[in-house]
């Protein structure tokens, strides 16, 4: 049973496509995390909860009778301001402090967001319907929900747009300068405070897009944010900061790895296998660093 996947080659195609499509979506969330981690040195535990809030925004417009796909435009706009506000309210107080304080602060934000969402939207699990139908390949033996294809497409679109924006625009360059050396950037006239607020806003907006996509592909619930935080954290750890292509590859790679682990090791070891991989990668990195004699004790 365990090796069903090798007996049915079509399952391999199915697993690969499922893994890649889901991985792209996770990569988008991870990209936001990598961005603000790199710029502000903050590990955002509330990342997943921002995603879910974005999802609820899409779900709300769906309840108003608007197609939930519009969520990928409306949700990031609202979420940008949520992120901006969050920065002004909490994050700016912890941005220069040590990592532990930022983890505590964002953990607090996560709890407040969960309870707020529970209060506003209720504890029931909800989904928005895109009615996009299904693409069937190879005589119906491989099926891909069009909503997943749509979500991967939108994720790629936004990621590319953001890369171009970061390269070309003034703010983008300011963000990159701040990430490299905040003090130097400040001396050269970059308003780092504004850059930080914008970065956090952009991160929240990316979460908003991902959330809107999750509302039509998976399920929403006020308390399912944490797995998204953990997943994106993992992707960033594997990819490293400030390395966008690596984030994309690591997102898809983890998605693929997870799907195959499901078939080969069993569903119950799916998450465990991913964590094991994470540990191996960290050990390998340390080993490589110590070999290069760059590791500072």
């Amino acid at each position: 049973m365990d090796f069903l996947i090798f007996k049915a080659p079509m399952l391999m195609v199915q697993a690969s496509l499922d893994g890649i499509l889901l991985g792209i979506l996770f990569a988008l969330i991870a990209y936001g995390m990598a961005l603000q981690w790199g710029v502000m040195n903050i590990i955002n535990i509330a990342q997943g909860d921002l995603v879910i809030l974005g999802g609820y925004i899409a779900y709300t417009i769906y309840l108003w009778g608007i197609h939930p796909a519009w969520g990928v435009i409306i949700s990031p706009i609202i979420m940008f301001f949520v992120g901006w506000g969050l920065y002004k309210l909490v994050i700016n107080k912890v941005v220069d402090r040590d990592l532990f304080i930022s983890i505590l602060a964002t953990f607090g934000i996560a709890i407040v967001f969960q309870q707020l969402m529970n209060f506003i939207f209720g504890a029931d699990v909800v989904v928005a319907q895109s009615e996009y139908g299904t693409t069937m390949l190879f005589d119906n033996s491989v099926t891909l929900p069009n909503s997943k294809i749509f979500s991967a497409f939108i994720s790629v679109l936004y990621a590319v747009a953001l890369v171009i924006y970061m390269k070309k625009s003034r703010l983008g360059r300011a963000i990159r300068a701040t990430a490299q050396n905040a003090r130097a950037a400040k001396i050269l006239g970059v308003d780092t405070e504004k850059v930080y607020a914008a970065t956090f806003g952009i991160n929240a907006a990316l979460c908003g897009i991902a959330g809107a996509l999750i509302s039509i592909t998976l399920t929403l619930h006020p308390y399912v944010g944490l797995p998204y935080t953990v997943r994106s954290f993992m992707i960033v750890i594997v990819a490293g900061l400030g390395n966008l292509p690596a984030v994309a590859v690591s997102g898809m790679g983890l998605g693929l790895f997870e799907e195959f682990a499901d078939y080969i090791l069993g569903t119950e070891f799916r998450i465990g296998a991913v964590f094991l991989l994470l540990v191996l990668i960290l050990v390998y990195r340390r080993f490589k660093l110590s070999k290069k004699r760059e590791y500072l004790k």
Partner: protein, 413 residues
Amino acid sequence: MNKIAKLFVTFISAITLALVSFTSSFAKVDGEYIVLGSAISLTGKYSSNGVHTQNGYNMAVDRINKMGGVEVQGKKYKFEIIYYDDESNPKRAAQLAERLIKQDGVHYMLGPYSSGLTKAIAPVTEKYKIPMVEANGASRSLFTKGYKYLFAVLSPANQYLEVAIDLAVEKNGGKGVKIAQAFEQDAFSQDVRLGILDAAKRTGSEIIIDDKLPKELNDMAATLAKVKAVKPDVLVVSGHTKGALTAIRQISEMKVDVPMLAMTHCDAAKLSKQHGKKSEFALCASQWHKNLSYKDKFFGSGKKYAKDFQKEFGYDPPYQSAESSAALLVFKDAFERANSFDRDAVRDALVDTEMQTFYGNIKFGPGGQNVAKPMILFQVRCKGDDCENRVVAPTKWASDKFYHPIPKWSERS
């Protein structure tokens, strides 16, 4: 600490102490009220079912009080419940149970919502020898620990989907079937799984997929791809509402054709509200359905209960509310038979319970579980996007014929 602060602390402690001793004096019976306690999830992830539970309790309290209350030693008493919000957190629930017993002097408890929280509270009530009638903890492990003060009006979790396997075997001409199953890794769902394993053994059926889904379940595409490849006769899924909604979403999107789909936590109201007619033909395990023919003098029939509940709270009662109401009927019956407020007398009376309520027959087994009431299965059937639960098993109460096999997705409009 300076002097003023010290004084302040002493003052506060004195007041707290005074309050504690004052509240303890309420004890079990306060004037004409029998005080029951319950920690219940009014916030947090179980809050919607927590509210259903509370509504069920309140409905029964009102009804019993209105119809004369509880008669003990010739005097009429009324029920009153002290609620605390456990925030869907087992640790908090256990603390609150302790507080209800030690500070509020409660001598009789009503259960919280969910198996997990009941598991957290049961050791506390057991320690203080407080009888607890619970209506929302079905996990089998609650009934194997030898608890003496725990009584559950509901059927244990392992019975949830056994009927479905029997039904599949029956449709297969009495021969064993191929079962694919996917269960979340939580106490409740794993108990449901044990029930299926028993049923498979009993009927000579074969389990060809046995997936354990992660708790943060949001994607079961891999399981469903396997199901497509191996073509089982029946697919069984249990993972609370999230599992049911995820399953329906992905089964319909991936066009997975199975002759029979059996789940828990999937009544039509929830499923069809989210998924419309995509949820049609799903079989759902339920503790109760309003069309069953059980009766009692307080609520009349299930239908009458549903009507009254709808009038009071504005929605159709889920089984969580019905079973919670039944818990109060059990308490009333036990108090009157014990004819005393002595905890052990009430506990002994509970052991001997044998009654019919609108919710079903109630008789407690040695572990405290209800052994007199079978689980029922209903099938979601739709007209347009308007779906409802129709009872299909057991045959005694079936209002509709079981639709089998489920039409292929290519044939569904």
